[in-house]
């Protein structure tokens, strides 16, 4: 018996990075996995093949998570094909790092739309599926910068702090329907997103981490597995840092 046997999970923005690791971790643990990303390319095709190789049902949708219309289309297709959704991971996100002085309104709005409005879209649409089932686990990808702030990331940090408030509100609103809502706040995780940071910033962060190493996408995927599974059935409304102690 695997931890996620009989469960159907959806991960947004999973073609690479943390989302990709979560999708694979879920499949390894028996879940059927649906994933989305903005476009179909060799990365999404590669992940699709890897998921299917694990012997679970898999599906990919090229969809813009910031579009409510496209989210509804994904939901219709998912319910038609899988009939239910047990785990939703709102992972899709981008950065547009810039000092506030130089940040354009477009940099701001784009990050808020892709990172925060997308969480609203998927949670709104798929929570009605979970309400009918009287069960579900929603996992939102926040960040420690949403807790502590970070120079040069006012837009990103605001979107991630928004996700935290959203996560707690949804936990209160849907708890009576046995739907849990938690946030993961990754610290410094080695992905394409953090590769964009300067050497200097990366070195500084590493020095600050009590466990003295950067995190991997798999570190985050293991926490997501816990939150997706029934091991965490009495845990909701929490923001769990996966950061080697960085936020301390």
């Amino acid at each position: 018996m695997k931890l996620l046997d009989q469960k159907v999970a959806l991960v947004t923005g999973a073609a690479q990075g943390i989302g990709r690791s979560i999708a694979l971790k879920f499949a390894e643990n028996g879940a059927d996995v649906i994933f989305t990303d903005i476009r179909e390319d060799e990365r999404s095709q590669g992940l699709m093949a890897e998921l299917e190789a694990k012997g679970v049902r898999a599906a990919f949708f090229a969809a813009d998570a910031s579009s409510l219309e496209q989210t509804k289309e994904v939901c219709n297709a998912v319910t038609e094909k899988f009939g239910r959704l047990d785990v939703l991971v709102n992972n899709a996100g981008i950065t547009r790092d810039m000092l506030l002085l130089r940040m354009t309104a477009e940099d701001w709005e784009r990050v808020i739309r892709l990172n925060l409005t997308s969480v609203f879209n998927y949670t709104k649409v798929f929570s009605s599926v979970m309400m009918r089932q009287r069960s579900g686990s929603i996992i939102n990808m926040a960040s420690i910068v949403g807790v502590n702030g970070n120079a040069g990331q006012a837009n990103y940090a605001a979107s991630k702090a928004g996700i935290i408030g959203f996560t707690k509100s949804v936990a209160k609103e849907l708890g009576s329907r046995n739907i849990r809502s938690n946030a993961i706040a990754p610290g410094f995780i080695e992905t394409a997103m953090t590769k964009q940071l300067s050497e200097e910033v990366i070195e500084h962060w590493k020095q600050e981490i009590p466990l003295r190493r950067p995190g991997t996408p798999d570190d985050v995927a293991k926490l997501a597995l816990f939150l997706a599974s029934d091991l965490s059935e009495y845990i909701t409304g929490q923001v769990i840092c996966c950061d080697g102690g960085l936020a301390l």
Binding site: S128, M131, E173, L174, S176, R177
Partner: protein
């Protein structure tokens, strides 16, 4: 031809697991039928589907009893 009340009763019975007979015009969703605020929001969406119309949030807030819903539908259905 089914009356509006009959259709409303059927939707409520299906959603809340009560018998259709127990749903009267005077029934208060929360006090009499055991619904909570989420149930009421879901019921309003089911009424929108059943009667193919949109019920504004401002109207939803006024719907305390089955009679409130039937009254609104009678006024707003073509």
């Amino acid at each position: 031809m089914e009356t509006i009340l009959t259709r409303v009763q059927r939707v409520i019975a299906g959603k809340l697991g009560v018998t259709e007979d127990s749903v009267t015009m005077e029934s208060d969703f929360i006090k009499d039928l055991g619904a909570d605020s989420l149930d009421v929001a879901e019921l309003v969406m089911l009424f929108e589907n059943e009667f193919s119309l949109e019920i504004p949030d401002s109207e939803m807030e006024k719907m305390k009893t089955v009679g409130d819903v039937v009254g609104y539908l009678e006024k707003n259905m073509k």
